[in-house]
């Protein structure tokens, strides 16, 4: 079926109605188009520079469904190499992480250095003069760039720069990166999980303020049980809150939250003895950034969605979360914790403890989110109910975090990329 005949997003500004065709969550054709039109056109998160701190450090991982290697070369430059031997295809890096001077293909022993250059071919004299080591270097995505430690790759050589692509999301990555003077670092341990649901359901869920109380009631009961004061910081009615369309499909929620934040909102469950340390941290931020920005960094939580599949939630801890569809109804999810490099062992332990109360596949919240997404996906089998409603707060001038304007920002961009004529088509039409 020609995708151009399918209307995935229906928006009526006048009436204040916004709906998404549920076939966007179920059609294999839709996923094929997403692979070409979104995942091969947009900047996709690969990893964080702190994961490869030294020359030769590497991490091999699946990014947007492809095996890749994030590696710091012997020249100190971080590269993203496509994990396939240029000879016959074998994955040249078969360990998850490590340090290497070279990657030797186990199949025929072609050897590549940490910059991806081909430096060894057994029996090279058997090749003709046309054979070139340069041309057989490991391949890389068309563009790779780093914004404040976050490394992205893009397969479209004509795509705008990462800086421009990130648009308004830069300010929110800055609010995370500014939490350290030495640089943020990814903590050891990757949460590798999944959901039997379409990947876009997790986009919506990751910055959905409306679902907080009904879905996560048990988390808020837990907070209450351990002595967190919920008054005035009820997540459904926070005193300070906003939802912002950041451009290019990125969006964020920012709000004062009830839970404690390792940077640097103290709550009783952190212990009386930590209070002075938190006050000192706060003063440090005020000295560096002034009172207002310090307040924002310390007291407000932020759920940031970077189009298409990166979530950075700076909430009761900071999580980097990325996910990719394997099929329309199944996604793989990877999540990490991000922390200031200078944080003491004791503070870091507290941060991780705080992380696990809510986040991750064994936390007191994420499993219920996964449950809701899987439940939606099963519900979609009732194809008579063809559309999901994402209209909440559409007529409001200042979108609330319990509205759905952030999701509409995602969907508008998604729909634009999915429906705009591709270059080839435009030529054919001409």
């Amino acid at each position: 079926m020609d995708e151009s005949n399918i209307n995935y997003v229906s928006e009526d500004q006048g009436a204040g109605l916004f709906r998404v065709n549920r076939r966007a969550f179920t059609d294999p054709e839709c996923l094929e188009n997403e692979r070409r039109r979104i995942f091969e056109k947009c900047w996709i998160y690969v990893g964080h520079e702190s994961e490869v701190p030294h020359a030769g450090d590497y991490r091999s991982r699946s990014v947007a469904g492809r095996p890749m290697v994030l590696v710091r070369g012997d020249d100190g430059v971080i590269r993203v190499l496509l994990n396939t031997c240029t000879h016959r295809g074998t994955m040249i890096c078969r360990q998850k992480a490590g340090n290497a001077k070279t990657f030797q293909c186990p199949y025929h022993a072609w050897t590549f250095n940490s910059r991806g250059q081909l430096v060894g071919v057994p029996g090279e004299e058997s090749y003709s003069d046309a054979f070139s080591r340069e041309e057989r270097a490991l391949a890389s995505p068309a563009q790779v760039d780093n914004y404040r430690g976050f490394i992205f790759a893009c397969f479209d050589p004509a795509a705008q720069s990462l800086y421009d692509y990130l648009a308004g999301a830069r300010e929110y990555l800055d609010l995370v990166a500014d939490q350290s003077e030495l640089g943020m670092k990814v903590v050891a341990g990757q949460q590798s999980y999944s959901a039997r649901a379409n990947w876009k359901l997790l986009v919506e869920n990751s910055y959905d303020g409306y679902h907080g109380m009904p879905t996560h009631q048990r988390y808020f009961s837990f907070l209450s049980d351990i002595g967190v004061d919920m008054k005035g910081r009820d997540v459904a009615k926070p005193s300070h809150q906003m939802a912002v369309d950041l451009g290019n499909g990125h969006a964020v929620l920012e709000y004062e939250s009830a839970w404690g934040r390792p940077i640097a909102h103290w709550v009783p469950s952190f212990g009386e003895h930590r209070k002075p340390h938190f006050e000192e941290l706060r003063r440090k931020f005020e000295n560096r950034f002034g009172k207002e920005r310090a307040w924002r960094i310390c007291e407000t939580s932020r759920n940031l969605g970077v189009f298409p599949n990166l979530v950075i939630n700076d909430i009761m801890a900071i999580t980097i979360r990325t996910f990719y569809p394997v099929s329309p109804d199944y996604m793989e999810v990877n999540a990490w914790a991000l922390a200031p490099a200078e944080e003491s062992a004791e503070d870091s332990a507290m941060r991780l403890d705080n992380f696990l109360t809510f986040l991750g596949p064994g936390g007191f919240a994420t499993p219920d989110d996964v449950e809701m997404l899987e439940s939606c996906q099963r519900g979609f089998a009732n194809h008579e109910v063809g559309w999901s409603d994402i209209s909440r707060g559409m007529k409001r001038e200042q979108p609330s975090i319990t509205d759905e304007s952030q999701m509409r920002a995602f969907w508008r961009r998604w729909n634009q990329l999915m429906t705009e004529p591709t270059v080839r088509r435009a030529r054919r039409a001409a």
Partner: protein
């Protein structure tokens, strides 16, 4: 401690089988009675199985307060990931008493835990590392560390019950 203080394998097996039965039957309050007042329950991440929860991002790292809260949540109505409850079936094998450590005893066991829910069957495979203690003569669990052999929670998605 003399070697005669060590629990026998049969004694450890009895404890672990009882635990497995209580968890499979969702008798979680009774399961809490098998734990010491300072018990911990940990599931390390699949890529750092030997990690320390103080400097590594775990999947679960509960102290006794969190374990009790987890049980309360799971027996309540709003732990949606387990409402309705999953069916689980635990096969516990290769039980070994590894020796003493201070006043505690170390033991390990292999497991295959099946979780049945919405007509899917997910299998969690790995081994347990237990720290056991005698409390008024009764053998209790001071620490249970669940080390997964599966490389990712895929397609399991979550550990929403007590593994």
């Amino acid at each position: 401690m003399s070697s005669s203080d060590l629990p026998t394998r049969a004694e450890v097996e009895d404890l672990l089988y009882k635990e497995a039965a209580l968890l499979d039957e969702w008798h979680l309050e009774e399961w809490l009675d098998l734990l010491t007042d300072d018990a911990v329950y940990e599931v390390p991440p699949t890529d750092v199985p030997e990690g320390d929860s103080r400097n590594t991002l775990f999947i679960v790292a509960d102290d006794i307060v969190r374990i009790r809260s987890r049980v309360k949540q799971l027996l309540g109505k709003s732990a949606w990931a387990e409402n309705p409850h999953s069916r689980t079936r635990r096969l516990i094998t290769n039980v070994r008493v590894l020796g003493g450590d201070g006043d505690d005893f170390l033991a390990s066991a292999n497991f295959a835990v099946y979780r049945m829910r919405y007509e899917s069957v997910d299998t969690y495979i790995g081994h347990y590392e237990y720290r056991l203690a005698r409390d008024h003569g009764q053998l209790k669990i001071r620490a249970r560390r669940v080390i997964l052999d599966i490389e990712a929670l895929r397609p399991h998605g979550k550990i929403s019950f007590i593994l």
